[in-house]
Symmetry: C2
Subunit: 611 residues, 2 copies
């Protein structure tokens, strides 16, 4: 069978504006309609299997946006279509306004220094929005008011892959108190958001995003971090990092840029992002005071929040839980403070011997987030950076403060999640989850790893993937990826892919173990393909079809090997699956194994029945 699959490649476009497009192997983009909101069209992916399988296409959750849709016209100079613009406008609680003028320092430049600049994105046709005076245009406020928004229905359809009935077979699992419904309804989504147990990050200035939800009663999500390099060589390079991350499954992307052109880079990313974009505004604020932590002020920070809010950032990481009195608790740590935001704020607090302005101004921050529906991700500035420091007094003192701040955010109708560690040995992971749930009123947990050992630099996607799978099972709603370059350097394109795929593994393993009603369908489809030697179907159903096929072809590149009943690992004579099939064929020809199994069970399950 000839390989006629479209190959991923850059979108058509002038030089410097092309990114990776095209479907994954044997995949089609489908759009499922809403019921309450007929204009809701939820994008997902269907994987077509070999006709010989007799199986229907396998539908999978798809975070890749229009980039994998051959029917979509991709032009990053125009940005993605504003999917949610009409929904936002229809609610009648926001207004357009001129917005803050971009300043040279937003891009890390003195006014006299133009440098090698990115061209600014032309946002002419997208107004800057804010909530009208007194309005709370947040998904949390709507949910509390009993309103099921189109965003909520989008999420409901997305989480169930369009399923309206419970899965044929009840999944087993141990959910540790999570309550995964047989079918996610729009009302369930609303209720979870209203309770603060889930967030739907959706800045009113980021109408291009496809709604998604983060909460422990939904599929476990993953985040990929990207960040610009010191000198941006092209616009596409910056946008491509985001497109590449979501192609392999990132559910949200954090732009952690710290260099120059930071404002323009972010604008290009957001306008082209179908996923929520998060940032750590403190990084940009620090750039504006030339990297001198002591020179940070509330005014500079607030101005940065407004700048990013107007651009459309969907969630802000804010390290407001690190208080002056916590800092001495880190004195005897092996690795001190390892959060960038945390160390910056600790330095500020000590230099001024004052309480953190993020803590003192937290209500003001919430008021601002409320105006744009920006979710808060409360940063764990005191997360442990080594096994030795896990679950220590500093970490848990901060977590307690994060619980206090969670309630403040909720009082302002602001959606909020909590960031977690870090480096934690396996036996201390569950305590993190349990404390977070108890102290933060079940607000979603968003963890980095955790890494279960310190001794494997170069393999920290794996040391952290182990911890991520476990904490995802225990109840973490979103896992922040770690790449093989962690602790060593800036990840490249391959590292990003390996990091994302590793975290998709962790998230999916967690879904299986929690007993998500439909998670096992893809495992079963792939295992059937494996048992029936449908090699192409195995590749198609894999999280990374390209790598699976490449590895197979390293030893058996011939086209015929794609239907051979063995691989090079064991060869034809020793393939257990082949022998196992031979056994079934033989048994089917005689009295039949299933029948034998019945007789075995009928005989009281005695191991050996003489026949």
């Amino acid at each position: 069978m000839p390989d006629t699959r479209p190959q991923p490649g850059p979108a058509a476009g002038p030089d410097g504006f092309s990114v990776s497009t095209g479907p994954l192997p044997s995949s089609r983009k489908v759009h499922l309609p809403g019921t309450l909101h007929p204009d809701v069209r939820v994008a997902m992916r269907e994987i077509d299997l070999e006709p010989s399988s007799g199986e229907p296409p396998v539908r999978v959750y798809d975070s890749s946006g229009p980039y994998t849709d051959p029917a979509a016209a991709i032009d990053i100079r125009r940005g993605l279509p504003p999917l949610r613009a009409a929904w936002i406008a229809a609610r009648g609680d926001v207004e357009a306004y001129p917005g803050r003028a971009v300043k040279p320092e937003d891009n890390g430049r003195r006014s006299t220094d133009r440098g090698a600049d990115l061209p600014p994105f032309d946002r002419a046709d997208r107004p800057v929005l804010r909530g009208k005076a007194g309005a709370a245009p947040t998904q949390l406020a709507y949910a509390r008011a009993g309103i099921v928004t189109p965003e909520m229905e989008y999420v409901a359809v997305r989480e169930t892959l369009g399923r309206r009935q419970a899965a044929a077979r009840a999944a087993d699992g141990e959910s540790f108190g999570a309550a995964l419904p047989p079918v996610v309804t729009p009302e369930f989504v609303r209720d979870e958001i209203a309770r603060g147990r889930a967030i739907l990050p959706a800045n009113i200035n980021h109408p291009e995003s496809e709604p998604m939800i983060i909460g422990r009663n939904f599929l476990v999500k993953i985040n990929a971090n990207i960040g610009n390099s010191a000198v941006a060589s092209s616009v596409a390079e910056e946008v491509e990092k985001m497109v590449w991350s979501i192609r392999w499954g990132a559910d949200t992307v954090m732009d952690l840029s710290t260099g120059r052109n930071i404002h323009d880079t972010r604008e290009w990313i957001i306008r082209n992002a179908p996923v929520p974009i998060g940032t750590v505004p403190l990084y940009q604020a620090l750039e504006k005071v030339n990297g001198v932590a002591e020179d940070l002020t509330w005014e500079v920070f607030r101005d940065t929040l407004i700048e990013q809010a107007e651009q459309g950032v969907d969630y802000f990481t804010i390290h407001a839980g690190l208080r002056l009195a916590h800092i001495p608790l880190t004195a005897r740590r092996v690795t001190g403070i390892v959060s960038r935001g945390g160390s910056i704020m600790a330095k500020w607090c000590l230099a001024h011997h004052r309480e953190s302005f993020l803590y003192e101004r937290f209500a003001d921050i919430c008021a601002l987030c409320r105006t744009y529906d920006i979710a808060l991700s409360l940063g764990d500035g005191l997360r442990p950076g080594s096994i030795a420091d896990a679950n220590d007094a500093a970490q848990f003192a901060e977590l307690e403060t994060l619980g206090e701040l969670t309630k403040v955010a909720w009082d302002h109708d602001v959606q909020v999640m909590i960031e977690g560690p870090g480096h934690v040995p396996m036996h201390k992971i569950k305590e993190n989850m349990d404390k977070q749930l108890a102290l933060c009123g079940e607000a979603p947990f968003y963890t980095l790893g955790p890494l279960v050992t310190d001794i494997a630099p170069g393999y920290d996607h794996i040391t952290s993937g182990i911890g991520a799978a476990m904490i995802g099972w225990f109840g973490t709603a979103m896992l922040c990826y770690v790449t093989p370059k962690e602790h060593l350097g800036l990840p490249d394109r391959d590292d990003v892919k390996v990091g994302v795929v590793t975290y998709k593994i962790a998230a999916h393993a967690a879904d299986l173990a929690k007993g998500h009603p439909a998670a096992q369908e893809r495992d079963d489809a792939l295992s059937r393909a494996r048992f029936e030697f449908r090699w192409r179907d195995q590749f198609r159903l894999a999280l990374d079809p390209e790598t699976a096929e490449r590895f197979h072809d390293q030893t058996l590149p011939a086209e015929g090997a794609k239907s051979a009943h063995f691989c090079s690992m064991c060869g034809p004579k020793f393939c257990s699956m082949k022998i196992s099939q031979d056994i079934r064929d033989a048994a089917a020809a005689s009295d039949g194994m299933a029948d034998m199994a019945e007789r075995f069970r009928a005989g009281g399950g005695e191991i050996y029945v003489r026949e």
Copy 2:
């Protein structure tokens, strides 16, 4: 500082006989003496740190044998020195005998067909040994008789890295009923072996092996599988696979060769192996009957056991637990029988409609193993090959039989461990461990992974590494590695390394979580190096120093960057560790953070104390 480290490379020797030798970076081989047995000299590795650290060398467990010792003269044509020969002889319970003559079919050849052969290893100076009539020269028999063998003392020194006192700090951990002693004494080793809770695989015909132990009250071990290719191009290539595996940390190696030259390959490997070698004798037996499972007989199988016993195989995987009546239980499985040995035996049982000869002849197998001190690894022929089949009736019915066979082995003074799955979602892993402990009287568990999802071919070292870390924590004594090529093809050299390192991560994470008294010392040393920007020490202390250094150097290759107080991930301005150090320096210059921490605690732990 110039890099003067010895580089790994082939040993001096004529073409076709060279393998990887040389120490790992900044490492020295040290030998610690026994007390009861002064001729015991236990090899381990010491990693020297930068003089600036002011820290002593870090001593680590070392499975790599003489190959990493520059003082050792490596010549694979002569094999390794017979370390244990005098100990074996001194016990006076074995005798030399001519042994079985090698037959052409041992190497997969008809007598008229010589083909492209390996030269046979010249074993002239190593007699073939067996237990004298009535004698039981097994470590289990010695342990039960109260004898502490040199092998047992070797293990005691090795497990404690020469420590004779409890670690300075008591480790926390959750051991699920394992009882890790503060210090492993020779008597403790003897007692664990006597109880059947640990095995010390040490065929009297493999005197070259350095004693090691497998049991849940010891460090978690890992196994690497190797196997010859269809046409062997050189002797060194075969031996090199074993040397390469142990260089990165494999504690035992299984030779799963199935092609030609299977006898000669094994001889070369065993004579040069400082680790126990395991095999699945059924594979060779099947070769002898031209791959036709139905033609297998007890006589062919027994002859193969003797052949391999005389060569020095340390443990046999035998699928004696798969019984005729179990087979129908697999009828409705998604992936049937996925164990090669299991499928071969199932085919035999069904073809003859007879009980498995491995089960029926199990006492004879034990009697044979007793004569040579070969440990049994009871194979799980019905392990699940997919998430759907995990923990099913077939799997657990076989496990029950394995428990029954364990007691038979013990009755014969034969050491025994139990093989485990396979593909298991996270929430079903612990049940495997609990059932194994209960059914098999705490005999050591030896698991393949388990893989926690089926959907990531190309990344199954990771899907299985997650499960391996968890089941290692729960009590599995040895983890069989899985490479990235699993399910897709034959692993190459890079795959083997990635598989071994991934499993060293899993095993070490398990040791940490179980509360092994000294496991965290390496994590702490690496974390201190990280906090103090001793880049070279980070590389040296890493499980894979070469990859760590290469990743770092991809973005910061300059020599000066090895002492820079940042890496390319965050750059100098945003390095939290640097800022954290600045904070400490500043605090030390004023009233001091430790002092502040004291005052905080003295104040009753109130989070915010106004000063």
